[in-house]
């Protein structure tokens, strides 16, 4: 074979590989863009002041909004984060810093299994743990269900991010006579915080859209509720109910709710990133 042919073949393979990679990326990005575009087309027209400030109208009446569901989702997600994030980070620290043993391997395996459990099953577990024992549906039960889903996601990303911190950084701290718990909190965790934050945000976004675990925990509510002990509305539940209804007005509102849900998730993540980026600058990067 001549060297000219070889060169031609190499270039051809190079082009083919680059094209394949670009094509596959385009499919992924294209899907995302298509979802956003479709949501905007279908939902943007129905998002108005009344939608964001009113509770749902009784069946048959046109109008009303999902203000109670937006607040309800915020409450449930707040509770889920308060429970899920500390447990997740704690488990992640254990796995990365102390878990090089059989118990650690077991915890890691359990977390992976838990990650793969269907969300409706998690909902049933929360039903059994909270709703059944308390005797009523509640926002808190919904928070527990979502928290159970967050823990393994946060734990595994925390572990991976901590393991990315070079061993030399830990050694430097030990070399100064800093105890291991101090090293973990003030140095290792601090070095990995950007990645851990990303993991938390991903877990948050993932559970924010969950419907199934809320069906028999938070249940849903047509009226205002701010109590963790009462059934409460949530945006995904409302989308589910409205999308399955026979009314055109409810279909419109379901699209609007989907758009609002995505906007709220993106908004929350952006806000956290913004606040975090500012605090890092203050501490001198």
């Amino acid at each position: 074979m001549s060297s000219g042919f070889l060169q031609f073949r190499r270039r051809l393979v190079d082009y083919a590989a680059t094209f394949t990679a670009a094509f596959l990326s385009a499919i992924v990005v294209g899907t995302l863009v298509a979802i956003f575009a479709y949501l905007l087309i279908k939902g943007a027209g129905s998002v108005n002041w009344a939608f964001l400030t009113h509770t749902p109208k009784p069946v048959g009446e046109i109008g009303g909004g999902m203000a109670n569901a937006i607040v309800g989702s915020a409450l449930i997600l707040g509770m889920a984060s308060l429970i899920g994030i500390p447990f997740g980070i704690g488990a992640g620290i254990y796995l990365a810093e102390y878990g090089r043993n059989r118990l650690g391997a077991f915890v890691r395996f359990t977390a992976d299994v838990l990650n793969g459990v269907p969300s409706i099953v998690i909902g049933l577990v929360a039903y059994g743990l909270v709703v059944f024992t308390q005797g009523h549906f509640s926002a808190f039960a919904g928070g527990v269900a979502l928290a159970i889903m967050m823990v393994p996601m946060v734990a595994r990303t925390t572990e991976e991010m901590l393991l990315l911190v070079p061993q030399a950084v830990r050694e430097a701290a030990f070399g100064l006579g800093i105890p291991q718990w101090r090293t973990t909190i003030s140095i290792t965790l601090a070095s990995a915080r950007a990645g851990i934050l990303t993991g938390i945000m991903l877990a948050f976004a993932r559970v924010a859209g969950e419907t199934a675990p809320l069906m028999f925990t938070a249940l849903g509510n047509q009226f205002w509720s701010f109590s963790p002990n009462q059934p409460i509305a949530a945006v995904p539940l409302q989308i589910y109910t409205y999308a399955l209804s026979p009314y055109d007005d409810w279909h419109r509102q379901a699209w609007a709710a989907a758009l609002v849900l995505v906007a709220l998730i993106v908004g929350t993540i952006s806000l956290v990133r913004f606040v975090f980026a500012r605090s890092t600058l203050r501490e001198a990067r």
Partner: protein
């Protein structure tokens, strides 16, 4: 002349492998002692036993007696040992999430010192001692330790080690990742520091050993073959193996 570190029959293991076979050495106070030898001879393991860093590896353990002053370091909490016996590592390892100031203050701050005046004083003094103050005094809290050059980072790590006021400073090939100019600065620094501080330095560079250290120990396969005044080791070694090594016949 006084002994700062007295090592008696020190043995160290990685799992079942014995890496040090009973080392005896008396390190002179306020002098620099060099540890030389081919790769894998146990010299890093040896100095890591002097502040109990060796045992931070899983499966690693050590046996024997190491006395720093009157303290038996294997008979006290490891965190206390490491405040008396500081360490500078082969690759500069500043804390990436911290400013220059916080890097130097870390040892005190994370062990409970809160007084700002004290911290300011210690940070300035330590950076002066490590000859970095003039280069960083305007950006102490603005720049991250990781933003400095390799040589500056290593001097930052020396300042960080000095800030907790150790009696002994261990240096594990502190110049092997640095350029010749940075290396010269660190060597000058060792000259300054050993007026007050006991230094044990592992080095692969025999010229460096002869420049900075009054005493030199030659390690081979987990044994201390010869330990003497540096000029004796390099001009008239007693052991054939030492002579072979320093004349470049192996290693």
């Amino acid at each position: 002349m006084a002994t700062a570190v007295e090592v008696s029959d020190l043995k160290a293991w990685f799992g079942r492998t014995e890496a040090l076979h009973g080392i005896n050495m008396a390190v002179e106070q306020a002098h620099a002692t060099a540890v030389i030898g081919p790769s894998g001879c146990g010299k890093s393991t040896f100095i890591r036993c002097l502040n109990r860093m060796h045992e931070t590896n899983p499966d690693a353990r050590a046996e024997g007696e190491v006395k720093v002053g009157n303290w038996d370091i294997y008979d006290m909490p490891a965190v206390d040992v490491r405040r008396k016996v500081g360490m500078v590592f082969q690759k500069p390892n500043p804390f990436p999430s911290m400013s220059i100031y916080d890097n130097v203050a870390a040892g005190l701050k994370l062990n409970g010192t809160r007084n700002h005046k004290t911290l300011d004083d210690v940070v300035e003094r330590s950076l002066q001692q490590s000859a970095l103050w003039d280069e960083v005094k305007d950006v102490l809290k603005k720049k991250s330790g990781a933003s400095l050059s390799g040589g500056q980072q290593q001097r930052l790590c020396i300042a960080r080690a000095l800030a907790v006021n150790p009696e002994v400073l261990l240096m594990d090939e502190p110049c092997s990742a640095l350029d010749p100019i940075s290396t010269a600065k660190i060597e000058d620094l060792i000259f300054e520091l050993k007026q007050r501080l006991t230094i044990v330095i592992v080095t692969h560079n025999m010229q460096q050993a002869s420049r900075v250290a009054e005493f030199t120990g030659f390690f081979l396969m987990g044994n201390l073959v010869e330990f003497d005044r540096t000029e004796k080791i390099f001009t008239n070694p007693s052991d054939k193996r030492t002579e072979d090594y320093i004349t470049g016949r192996f290693g």
